[in-house]
């Protein structure tokens, strides 16, 4: 079990560095470190992330958007070990600026060849990157009851 975990950990670590660099830039660095390498099955796992020439002392010092991209890189790193048949994101793009939304949707489009992606969003830029959209609404005459509606792409991405 110990070998198994260490092998998987190493694979996740390499994936993390690869995904992190595509969500940030090629010169950015990050790492996953077992704080107690003697004890891999118990050891806490530390995340080190250094975007764009910065030298944050801990990941807590990173900004809201940077934290979201870092956590997303880790989740995708794990996904790449064993791709789930579908992935669901619920408004994970809310803290991201326009440039980072494009990076986020680009990597999703890449992985969408392997898996289906379901993205809940309010963001028009993210919407523009979807293949199909479902609109959910509640009508004033029947409040509190969810209904599905056709989405007018032009109205949504106006």
């Amino acid at each position: 079990a110990r070998e198994n975990f260490l092998a998987t950990f190493e694979q996740i670590r390499l994936n993390f560095q690869k995904v992190f660099r595509s969500l940030f830039t090629e010169e950015d660095t990050c790492d996953l470190v077992l704080t107690d390498p003697e004890n891999p099955l118990e050891s806490p796992i530390e995340i080190i992330a250094k975007p764009k020439g910065k030298r944050p002392l801990t990941i807590n010092q990173l900004s809201g958007g940077e934290k979201t991209l870092t956590a997303t890189s880790l989740l995708f790193a794990i996904y790449l070990i064993k791709p789930a048949p579908f992935c669901i994101f619920d408004e994970v793009d809310a803290p991201l600026d326009d440039a980072n939304i494009d990076k986020f949707t680009n990597i999703i489009r890449e992985f969408s060849k392997e898996s289906q992606f379901i993205i809940v969003t309010h963001n028009k830029r993210t919407m523009a990157a979807t293949d199909v959209m479902y609109g959910v609404t509640m009508l004033p005459e029947d409040p509190g009851v969810s209904k599905l509606v056709a989405v007018d792409m032009r109205e949504m991405t106006a």
């Binding site: 950990f9 996740i12 806490p44 995340i47 048949p85 669901i88 619920d90 809940v120 509640m138 949504m156």
Partner: protein
């Protein structure tokens, strides 16, 4: 193992039956605040076997049944069905599709069905073992989870790694 459709009736804000057909690639779910988007995500978690009411934003499981509005009475049952293609042969190969159904009655009774045949919750969670989906999946992501990974909620970080290993 592609998803083909999701049917929701009586679950949370779905007072009327709603059917969503999924295609390949990236599907967007959009709409105003409070209209039911996250409830769709909760429905998927629930039909895959989620038992933690906190992950469904509810205090008790009974609260996931449509509890009525000013104009409508509460319903007595919640039912969610998720259908996908049997490309990974999770069920014997004569089935082209697999439909997982979960029902909860206000009386507290639960029913689980695989392709219409009654089964136990265990049969459903076993079906999905090793596919990467199920409750606690790293494939269902919301901002709260981003926080948990980054804060010192170490167990959530280890859990993710162990689930993949």
């Amino acid at each position: 193992m592609q998803l083909t459709r999701l049917e929701i009736k009586g679950f949370k804000s779905f007072g009327d039956k709603v059917t969503i057909h999924f295609g390949e690639g990236v599907t967007g779910i959009v709409g105003q605040n409070g209209c039911g988007k996250s409830n769709i995500v909760d429905a998927i978690r629930w039909v895959l076997g989620e038992q933690k009411t906190r992950a469904l934003r509810s205090d008790k499981m009974e609260n996931i049944i449509f509890n009525g509005t000013k104009k409508r009475k509460p319903l007595q049952m919640a039912e969610v069905s998720l259908t996908f293609q049997n490309t990974k042969n999770l069920l014997p190969t004569e089935y082209t599709e697999v439909t997982v159904t979960r029902r909860l009655y206000r009386s507290g009774e639960s029913e689980y069905l695989l392709n219409g045949v009654p089964c136990r919750l265990k049969d459903i969670t076993n079906l999905f073992m090793d596919t990467g989906i199920g409750p606690d999946s790293y494939a269902i992501i919301e901002l709260k989870m981003v926080d948990e990974i980054l804060n010192d909620k170490e167990n959530s970080r280890r859990n993710l790694f162990e689930e993949a290993a």
